[in-house]
């Protein structure tokens, strides 16, 4: 029945748009080597310039947004995209939190331009890198730097089937326990953001003997300060290390920002 209804109905139109980003999250879609041809049977890829010359005008049923807003042009464009999207999903740390480039929100933008460009006056950019949700309503945020392939497929599938995506909101720490890893913090004294970081990667870093560096961003209701105080007390972790760990790909995510700011002298 379900299959038939999909065949009889027009396929939902999928669009992929990019703002300031590394392309890694939309590449995740092209990295679905086993699933991409199947995916093209359940959605109509209407706009995805990295993968196709085809461009079908909106409105789109499902829109995936990668990247953060850093220019006046993009600020206006995201409004147009929202207006032509039924469901808008942000993918990755740039779209959800501003990305690594949000470090400029805490610095002097003119000095940034001068460091990179000899003629900074040619460069038009906002002083900030902001998440998509600062500008428009977002229907679902898929976290990660980069996002996880299986989670992306689950999200697309769920929106096609009009159901709630099954994306766990617990921590990397829980994933790590489920993998039976030895704790890198307790056993090896390494600062690890696993307890406050959103699950989804499969606890890769601790599985490779390194502490989590928080690339999936804050989990639901995290308390990073309690964690960093423990590091200071029990692991003698330096303030600069704590600031560095929390101020990377999700540096502007509220829970992380609030904590690393405390260590910013």
């Amino acid at each position: 029945m379900n299959k038939l209804s999909i065949i009889n109905k027009q396929l939902p139109k999928l669009a992929v748009f990019k703002f300031a980003s590394c392309d890694g999250c939309q590449l995740t879609l092209l990295d679905c080597e086993d699933e991409i041809l199947q995916l093209a049977k359940i959605v109509e890829i209407a706009h995805f310039p990295e993968a196709t010359k085809t461009h079908i005008e909106g409105p789109y049923d499902i829109t995936l947004i990668e990247g953060s807003i850093t220019t006046e042009h993009d600020k206006a464009l995201i409004q147009q995209i929202r207006a032509s999207s039924k469901k808008l999903i942000t993918i990755g740390a740039c779209a959800n939190a501003g990305g690594i480039q949000a470090l400029k929100n805490f610095a002097n933008i003119d000095s940034y331009k001068e460091i990179v460009y000899a003629r900074p006056e040619y460069i038009s950019t906002l002083a900030t890198s902001t998440p998509i949700s600062d500008h428009v309503h977002v229907d679902f945020e898929l976290q990660g730097c980069p996002i996880n392939k299986e989670q992306l497929l689950e999200v697309i599938n769920s929106f096609v089937l009009e159901k709630v995506p099954c994306i766990k909101s617990h921590s990397v720490c829980i994933e790590c326990k489920m993998k039976n890893n030895v704790c890198v913090s307790v056993a090896h004294g390494k600062p690890c953001l696993g307890p406050v970081t959103h699950a989804g990667c499969g606890a890769i870093c601790p599985s490779y003997n390194r502490g989590c560096y928080g690339c999936y961003g804050p989990k639901e209701t995290p308390d990073p300060s309690a964690l960093t105080s423990w590091w200071e007390k029990h692991l003698n972790t330096r303030k600069e290390t704590i600031k560095g760990l929390l101020s990377n790909f999700n540096c502007a995510a509220e829970a992380f920002k609030k904590t690393w700011k405390k260590y910013d002298e």
Partner: protein, 442 residues
């Protein structure tokens, strides 16, 4: 102005403007603008409007140990290249001697990226051009076996990166001094059957690619790549060029300079005294062909591929040959690797220093320079990605196409220009620090 225009019409001359405002099937955002008058190109700009992300600025003040993880975020398609140039530079500056077993594992990881990135470009971005398909999904309807082979080869590359690096995009296992963890023998050798199958598919794909029709195009280029007496270049060796340059990474900035153009957020890198030059598969092949494996050379001889390739439209064949080579190389490294119980990394001491490195990203030479203070924090960073280096060469190719191919319709010209840009597999996210075709009718 209008009078002038009238005169032109009277003498029967043509002027036109070609404009592509968003280049498809390239990584990142760019456009192309060409204005011709009396078949002479008056203006041609390859414009990169990818918003700048200021990596060099945001690295300042951070620990040198952050460099591999942060610079990998410049590009989701070639993160390994960024990690490798970063660690090679820092290790050189800190005087860390990387043992051969760590070097071999890094070469294996880099082979994974060459396979994955080249295969993405060959099958998903470039091959559809020569058969006039909009994309790979459309191509798969008439060439399902080819597309499936492409996907399998791509996956084999990604499996290497996932196995050794932890995940395909922005792997987590590389650090200054080595790795966080050396995979087990079981984990590494599990890749052999996948790679063996991919190698077979690679050969078949090469025969298929050789049946495609490529436009005739020839230009003289200045090629630049790493050269190493002992191996096809990936991360070790000196920088050489077709006109005889032979320098270390530390001497790079004395021979090359970045220039800013008003229409682009990407800087153009030029060779001092020479101007535009070409990096990437075509440069590596033309400068280091003899370092390819015997079986790769046999495969190229079998399809009668030229020993020196000067037609960038044919670079897709070189990419396929490099994939073949990289798979063989990966099998070789895994089959001979014995050091599973060795330490994954080398201890080192921090010191104030300036360091440089170049490695061969899939798209070509990737230069990194860092200055570190006595606390081990970055005080200065300079990164020159391959697409910045190829940008002027791409513009020059387009200039030749727009000037030479007078019989082409606007649509044909636009199409040919787009394919010519994709010859270079431009990575726009990387270069912004890239495309739209405008051919303006006067």
């Amino acid at each position: 102005m209008s009078e002038e225009k009238e005169i032109k019409v009277k003498v029967g001359t043509k002027s036109r403007t070609i404009h592509v405002d968003y280049l498809a099937r390239v990584e990142g955002e760019g456009s192309l603008y060409i204005r011709t008058n009396q078949n002479k190109v008056e203006e041609l700009t390859l414009k990169i409007f990818e918003p700048p992300r200021f990596f060099e600025a945001l690295l300042r003040g951070r620990s040198h140990t952050d460099a591999p993880d942060i610079t990998s975020r410049i590009c989701g398609i070639c993160p390994v290249a960024y990690q490798m140039s970063a660690v090679c530079a820092l290790e050189e500056g800190l005087g860390i001697n990387i043992p051969e077993y760590i070097h071999q594992l890094r070469r294996l990881l880099y082979c994974g990226e060459w396979i994955e990135s080249h295969t993405l470009h060959i099958f998903m971005l470039h091959a559809p051009d020569f058969l006039h398909y909009a994309d790979m999904v459309q191509m798969s309807k008439e060439h399902p076996d080819i597309v499936n082979m492409g996907l399998r080869i791509k996956k084999a590359g990604n499996e290497i990166i996932k196995n050794l690096g932890g995940r395909q995009i922005h792997p987590i296992n590389v650090k200054v001094g080595g790795f966080y963890k050396i995979p087990s023998e079981k984990e590494l050798t599990s890749l052999i059957p996948i790679l063996t199958e991919a190698l077979r598919m690679c050969k078949q794909s090469m025969y298929w690619i050789n049946t495609l029709t490529f436009p005739n195009f020839d230009r003289s280029y200045e090629y630049v790549s790493i050269y190493n007496d002992n191996e096809y270049p990936i991360s070790r060796g000196r920088i050489v060029s077709s006109s005889g340059l032979n320098i270390t990474a530390g001497e790079f900035l004395s021979h090359f300079e970045e220039q800013q153009v008003h229409y682009s957020t990407a800087l153009h890198c030029m060779m001092k005294g020479k101007g535009a030059y070409l990096v990437g598969p075509m440069a590596r092949y033309n400068l280091c062909r003899d370092k390819l494996s015997t079986s790769t050379l046999q495969l190229l001889d079998e399809i009668q591929f030229e020993k020196a390739c000067t037609n960038p439209f044919r670079s897709i064949i070189i990419r396929m040959a490099e994939v073949y080579y990289a798979i063989e190389e990966a099998i070789r490294i895994i089959s001979t690797f014995k050091d599973y119980s060795m330490s994954p990394s080398i201890e080192y001491k921090i010191k104030e220093m300036t360091c440089h490195a170049v490695t061969e990203a899939p798209r070509g030479l990737l230069f990194h320079k860092y200055q570190i203070n006595s606390d081990g924090n970055i005080t200065n960073a300079n990164i020159i990605p391959p697409t910045s280096q190829n940008q002027r060469t791409i513009e020059n190719d387009l200039y030749k196409i727009a000037s030479d191919d007078k019989s082409l319709s606007d649509d044909q010209l636009r199409y040919k220009c787009e394919v010519a840009i994709r010859n270079y597999d431009p990575c726009i996210s990387c270069s912004a620090h890239f495309l739209n075709l405008e051919r303006k009718k006067m």
